[in-house]
């Protein structure tokens, strides 16, 4: 869903004069949504900018993705990054057609990561009690 959202946003920004580059890990959604420039990283979702606690991997992902700004000349190109997650253990679950609904409940209550975040947002006036 996030990949679809970035495709729509990228197309809007680009149509209004801002060059964009999308970085993500769902190749099929990029191919369907056709953003102007994209980099595909074949990692499990949630790691589009690299492996956690792996600064060298993150740096190489972001650097290679950004190179697309100058290397991609054909609109709609999705460049494949060479970085490798290291194993395929995640693929069966990611591509499963059976399974539980992993989405959280959909209502309009802000879902803070930590209870103290709500207190901080109240204190700053970002939300009201």
């Amino acid at each position: 869903m996030c990949h679809q959202t970035v495709c729509l946003v990228a197309r809007h920004l680009e149509a209004n004069g801002i060059p964009t580059l999308c970085l993500g890990s769902a190749l099929d959604i990029f191919n369907a949504g056709r953003p102007p420039r994209a980099s595909f990283l074949d990692y499990p979702l949630g790691h589009s900018a690299g492996k956690p606690f792996a600064p060298a991997d993150q740096l190489s992902v972001v650097r290679a993705a950004l190179a697309g700004f100058e290397q991609i000349t054909v609109p709609g190109t999705v460049a494949r990054l060479v970085n490798d997650w290291g194993n395929d253990d995640w693929r069966a679950e990611a591509g499963a057609t059976q399974g539980q609904d992993t989405r959280e409940a959909r209502d309009e209550t802000p879902q803070f990561q930590l209870p103290a975040d709500r207190d901080a947002a109240l204190a700053s006036g970002a939300i009201r009690a």
Partner: protein, 160 residues
């Protein structure tokens, strides 16, 4: 072989009794704006759809929340939080935000001269919005104005 998410997600939720989701499939060529200067001289904007917010800001809700947060690009990692309808993908981001909101790599690339500047504020949203109309009509125009206000030359959009 890369994962076919559209097919898998469609099948998974059909098996749970939901009507199939109609994914966006572009029926027109991508628009195109050429860079006006080399990346090494450009001011780069950043959007992450991971539901990032800074301590003191509101979290996102999960019912097609199309709001946008501006985060100072100097925000400390300890002050970054995430809320997203698919929280199961946030396990690592909540430990190391850079795997989905790459502020540290971008600061390094700025120091190395790969990019000219990083915008003072970067943006985040909760990308799990089902309504394509609301993304087009509300979120995307708000982000366009936000990026223009940051005077960016180009923008990196990181999907979760």
């Amino acid at each position: 072989m890369s994962i076919n998410y559209m097919q898998a997600i469609r099948a998974r939720y059909e098996n749970l009794g939901y009507t199939p989701y109609r994914w966006f499939e572009a029926d027109s060529p991508p628009p195109w704006t050429a860079l006006t200067k080399p990346l090494a001289q450009s001011r780069l904007g950043l959007l992450s759809t991971s539901g990032a917010y800074a301590l003191g800001q509101s979290a996102y809700h999960y019912k097609d929340d199309v709001s946008v947060r501006a985060l100072p690009s100097t925000t400390a990692e300890a002050d970054l939080r995430f809320s997203h309808i698919t929280e199961n993908y946030l396990v690592d981001a909540r430990r190391d935000p850079n795997c989905i909101l790459p502020l540290a790599p971008l600061r390094t690339l700025r120091q190395q001269g790969v990019i000219g500047e990083l915008a003072d504020s970067v943006f985040s949203c909760m990308g799990g919005v089902y309504s394509q109309r609301r993304v087009r009509e509300e979120m995307a125009p708000a982000l366009l104005e936000a990026f223009r206000a940051q005077q960016v030359d180009c923008a990196l959009l990181v999907a979760m």
